[in-house]
Symmetry: C2
């Protein structure tokens, strides 16, 4: 019986990995992932077969996992952040549909909403939404609709993939939609390179956020109507009612 672990590594440094994730990698004979993530962990796993594929080669990566597991091997497919949230677990399960003799175990990791939130303070302490601005696999109209629904529901919002080479103005477009519902002064934050040595963050208003420079390594946070800045940290209170 072959086994595939789909492992969330958490952000940046491997210290954000869980013990369960580390144990799965230790157990594996083969570790497969996007080149950049394999480079991050390779020194820790000498003697293991490390296989990499480039960006957007997700199907090739899952096929590699399946073919190795069908030989009876234990394989880890690694993802940054969580293995589920915009991760590889869903595609792996889809591509393995009906395959006998392979067990798939999904191991969670710290996604950027949590790790970036911790850097800023506690912006997601109440109900929240996670929305990706990437329209690679999602129609832009649906992204717009979700932004409107999130604003109307007074959710705190974590935005993934706010920009890329081909989508330089997407954060601005998203802010314009949010500003139809939310006041300009709403407090927001952004975190770059979470968990890495050059991690940095800003706190600003929604109106200022619109013109911020972001890249694909940035995660953006929009407060809800109760979010405030306390001693330089972004904090969404747990409650709306007084609790004295």
């Amino acid at each position: 019986m072959g086994r595939i672990y789909v492992v969330g590594l958490g952000p940046g440094k491997e210290e954000y990995m869980t013990y369960v994730a580390a144990k799965a990698l230790e157990e594996s004979e083969v570790i497969i992932g996007y080149t950049v993530y394999i480079d991050l962990i390779k020194d820790r796993y000498p003697g293991k077969e490390l296989l990499t594929t480039g960006m957007r080669q997700e199907k090739e990566r899952c096929s590699l996992c399946l073919s190795n597991a069908l030989e009876g091997k234990t394989v880890s497919l690694v993802c940054s952040g969580d293995s589920g949230v915009y991760g590889m677990a869903s595609l792996m399960l889809e591509m393995a549909e009906g395959t006998e003799g392979v067990e798939i175990i999904v191991i969670p990791g710290i996604t950027a909403a949590l790790s970036g939130g911790a850097v800023l303070g506690a912006p997601l302490s109440h109900d929240f939404c996670v929305i990706s601005l990437s329209d690679h696999l999602t129609p832009w109209e649906l992204i717009e609709k979700r932004l409107r629904c999130a604003a109307e529901g007074d959710f705190a919002i974590a935005i993934y993939n706010p920009s890329s080479k081909l989508r330089k103005d997407y954060l601005k477009r998203a802010c314009d939609i949010l500003l139809e519902v939310i006041e300009k002064e709403r407090v927001c934050g952004l975190v770059r390179n979470i968990g890495r040595d050059d991690e940095s963050y800003n706190i600003c208003t929604l109106d200022e956020l619109k013109d911020m420079q972001v890249d694909m390594f940035t995660t953006v946070f929009i407060g809800n109507s109760a979010t405030k800045v306390i001693d330089g940290r972004l904090v969404t209170p747990r409650g709306y009612l007084k609790n004295d």
Copy 2:
């Protein structure tokens, strides 16, 4: 300079803790938390001062942290799941406002949306909302509004606190609201006692979910319109468009 780490322990067993969280606990002279969570970790930390407070004594817990940190100690305030998502980080930052000589560091953990999602498969692989049904600190009308917005935006949804002794029918009420927008056959899942020895899960339709028995240790997942059941797992595809 005193220091307070607000530490997310992840679900159930301590193996879901990150290395960063474990390091913070090791560094701490005092570990403070709700009785149940301290019991879970106390054997691992002999020689440390362990302080507990009961359920809903969150303010007392934060005061204990502050008074110890003001004596120059390093303190860990532990939370199950993440330290931010319905955790103690926001209250700690609020109560410490303006306090000099105390540094507060928030350390994320695996929240139930991620750990429960991994148990079910990959239900949160696309945009999602996290909504708590607890009306202890939130007006029920706002919870209803958020459920409606989440359904209208075709988000996958993770529901926390679906029931308690005083709120036995809240999941049913939430399902009734979702059913105004979502079809009865929508696939859903629920996970009980995540990360513990008696962990269990079910996959069902939204119509069936309405009558499911849940308790405060259950996390509920509602798929989006593309979510499907693959080999007994709940899977939300990453994309809406074909990607061949």
